[in-house]
């Protein structure tokens, strides 16, 4: 049991540290993108994994964070990162406004409602000319001061993202062992049962959404800082939400490291398949990506975390 825990931890540590020892800029960029995706997937995991409320509307938080960053730059001339606190504040407000009515819904109905909210938000942004409308906004073209966080190398971004991810995972870890963690898992396992045992379900779902939304918004701000451009599709597009869900599901929703594992697998996969196949045979990248997701859904729907648990418990049980 001990050994089985030490292995993945050691592997993770090597992976986390490797970009700092690599001289390959593309590898470093991919590492930064992994960390960024892991932040939003882990943030989604709090409400979507632990509490079992499968949101397809988290792109709203991501978009709000990203737009906040570039709005403070375009309108006030501040460094984009200064928009991050505003994005988080806005995300808290959205959590309350959107969470209270949608939490009355259960299962697929909740997912559909969140999906609808995200679609609505994208339409609103497309028509909101103050924030660049359909064209979007760009960040500083060249660094005016170090606070603009424009680096040629992806390493500083990687370090920042990693720090944010560490804080988020630490909070999630604390939550997991606290009363809130138990409540959320109880809600995820069966809302009625939890309620009958006296769990204040709507209050705790809201707490989870506040935490989840805030970190997703922060991920959005960090994205805007690094990429330097945002438009309705890259901020509020449905793919943003889907990616969070798929990553968490692949690694194992409702587990601490599940979303991180999902990001570690999927982001390099999509970057590498684009690099290797993208130019030559167009579309092949999508095919590869799709096949892998199908395999996961067919053979380990509980995510890799589930698979790993089974594998370490009964070492020699292999089907056929």
């Amino acid at each position: 049991m001990r050994l089985s825990r030490a292995w993945p931890a050691a592997l993770l540590l090597v992976l986390v540290a490797s970009p700092f020892f690599s001289f390959n800029p593309f590898y470093q960029r991919v590492a930064a993108l992994v960390a960024l995706a892991a932040i939003s997937a882990s943030a989604w995991n709090v409400i979507g994994g632990y509490a079992g409320q499968v949101s397809f509307g988290h792109s709203v938080y991501f978009g709000v964070g990203a737009y906040a960053a570039l709005l403070v730059f375009t309108k006030l001339g501040l460094p984009p990162i200064a928009g991050a606190p505003l994005g988080i504040l806005a995300s808290l407000a959205i959590s309350v406004i959107a969470g209270l009515p949608t939490f009355r819904l259960h299962g697929h109905y909740f997912s559909m409602a969140t999906f609808a909210i995200a679609a609505l938000a994208e339409l609103l942004i497309i028509n909101w000319n103050f924030a660049g409308g359909a064209i979007g906004m760009m960040g500083p073209a060249t660094a005016r001061s170090p606070a603009d966080l424009l680096f040629r190398s992806a390493l500083p971004y990687y370090a920042i993202f990693l720090a944010v991810l560490a804080v988020l995972l630490w909070l999630t870890h604390r939550m997991q062992r606290s009363r809130m963690g138990f409540y959320l898992r109880a809600i995820g396992a069966g809302e009625r049962a939890a309620q009958s045992l006296g769990v204040p379900i709507r209050r705790y779902k809201l707490y989870a959404l506040l935490l989840s939304g805030a970190f997703t918004a922060l991920a959005g701000s960090l994205y805007a800082v690094m990429i330097g451009f945002i438009d309705p599709d890259s901020g509020f597009g449905v793919l943003i939400s889907v990616n969070m869900v798929v990553m968490a599901a692949l690694g194992g929703a409702g587990t601490l490291f599940g979303p991180l594992v999902g990001a570690v697998i999927l982001v390099p996969l999509s970057e590498a398949s684009n690099a290797i196949l993208g130019g030559g045979s167009s579309g092949a990248a999508y095919v590869a990506y799709g096949v892998i997701i199908m395999l996961i859904a067919r053979f380990c729907p509980g995510g890799l975390a589930e698979w790993w648990r089974v594998l370490t418990r009964t070492r020699r049980r292999r089907a056929a």
């Binding site: 593309f26 064209i135 060249t142 994205y223 890259s234 999508y286």
Partner: protein
């Protein structure tokens, strides 16, 4: 080089990516295009044109003189006949992917210059990487105005952009007004994402600068299935001119709805995209007779370069070359020409050569008046023609000296 201490770690896929140590004889150029996603059709067409361009550069083609780089020997003559090689990257229509592409092409494939990247948003993010690395970037087809307003040192653009198109339409309308036709009441109908919005913005601003107020501006969703409210709104406004900035299925829908509702304005202009799509001509050509359009590429007479290039492209693909593909191909040729004039693959030398670019119209495979960059890197001699749908194809009708057919007004439509 990219030999790192990460070889132990997972991700063998990444490690297996092509890493070329030393720039060998061939000159490698990074080409970022929308090879998959919404704009894949355009991206694939551009790819075929770029392959044609490399074929022309790398092999002897004296018959194509005075086209730049169409030589007796083939290859880049100032670089010892070095061949040009393209490293392709797919931007998938995503600004973030385009940025990854640029970084990968620069650091892994060691390209000497970049070109692309179709969507203006992708060109914006990928050229920011090139700027930080000090690698020349030439945009052949992206038309958003802000691209050349960033004060970048390494960014150049050969294509005409938003304000150029607006000026072309207004000049054309002014010329038509001299014949006694009313052209003062202009309606602009545009799809509501970045393409439609930005061109419509340029149109309204450029018109305002000339003291013309756009009478109606109607934004709509290109994925909608009914445009009768928009057509009725237009009908009530009784405009002299309607300018459509539309994609394919929506422009087809507009023509059909206009026929159903009996709305036939005297002048109809379609801004490239949808109106230029072969399926537009096929499905609504018979009811869109006399629709006007813009193009920077008109094949023209059989002895012209444009005609010869179009013939080669048609032989390769079975299609005529379209405006966007031609603009991209011309951009790529200008970049290769600059590398050849630089006689070096050093970024600084290529940039200097780009700055000094002064190509006459005769050296181009497109109908620009030439290629010469201003301080912002924008081609000041970029140019388009007005073309008109007559029968089953578009023919150049304005300006008169480039016209091969007579301008027929008012818009006939279905009669």
């Amino acid at each position: 080089m990219a030999i790192t201490r990460r070889s132990v770690i997972a991700l063998p896929v990444l490690a297996a990516m092509p890493v070329r140590a030393f720039a060998a004889e061939p000159v490698k150029i990074g080409y970022i295009e929308a090879l998959t996603g919404n704009a894949a059709a355009a991206g694939q067409s551009i790819k075929q044109a770029a392959e044609l361009a490399t074929e022309i550069i790398n092999n002897p083609h004296p018959e194509l003189a005075p086209l730049t780089l169409a030589t007796k020997t083939g290859g880049l003559t100032n670089l010892g006949g070095a061949k040009v090689e393209i490293a392709w990257a797919d931007n998938q229509g995503s600004p973030a992917v385009a940025q990854s592409d640029a970084l990968r092409l620069i650091t892994q494939d060691h390209v000497v210059a970049l070109t692309g990247a179709y969507q203006s948003s992708c060109t914006l993010t990928s050229s920011a990487v090139a700027e930080r690395y000090g690698i020349p970037y030439l945009a052949g087809e992206s038309a958003a105005a802000n691209l050349t307003e960033r004060g970048y040192k390494w960014f150049f653009r050969t294509t005409p952009y938003g304000p150029d198109f607006a000026r072309l339409y207004l000049d054309f309308l002014a010329a038509v007004a001299k014949t006694g036709m009313a052209t003062s009441k202009i309606a602009v109908v545009h799809e509501n994402t970045d393409y439609g919005t930005s061109v419509a913005d340029s149109m309204v601003q450029t018109a305002a600068a000339r003291g013309i107020k756009v009478a109606q501006r109607i934004a709509y969703n290109a994925n909608g299935t009914d445009v009768s409210p928009q057509v009725l709104e237009l009908k009530n406004g009784k405009p002299d001119v309607v300018i459509f900035i539309s994609y394919t299925s929506d422009s087809i829908l507009y023509l059909k709805t206009m026929k159903t509702l009996g709305f036939r304005p005297p002048i109809v202009i379609g801004d490239d995209s949808g109106f230029s799509d072969p399926s537009f001509v096929k499905s609504v050509g018979p009811i869109a007779q006399g629709a006007l359009n813009r193009s920077a590429f008109v094949p023209g007479k059989p002895d012209s370069l444009t005609y010869k290039i179009n013939a080669l492209f048609k032989k390769k693909t079975g299609r005529d070359m379209d405006d966007t593909t031609a603009r991209s191909m011309q951009g790529f040729l200008v970049l290769c020409d600059a590398i050849n004039r630089a006689g070096s693959t050093k970024p600084e030398a290529i940039r200097d050569a780009l700055v000094k670019t002064d190509l006459p119209a005769s050296a181009l495979m497109i109908n620009y008046k030439g290629v010469k960059f201003n301080a912002q890197g924008q081609n000041t001699l970029a140019y388009s023609l007005m073309i008109q749908l007559q029968g089953d194809r578009y023919v150049p009708v304005w300006p008169t000296e480039a016209a091969s057919a007579k301008l027929e007004l008012p818009f006939k439509g279905w009669s």
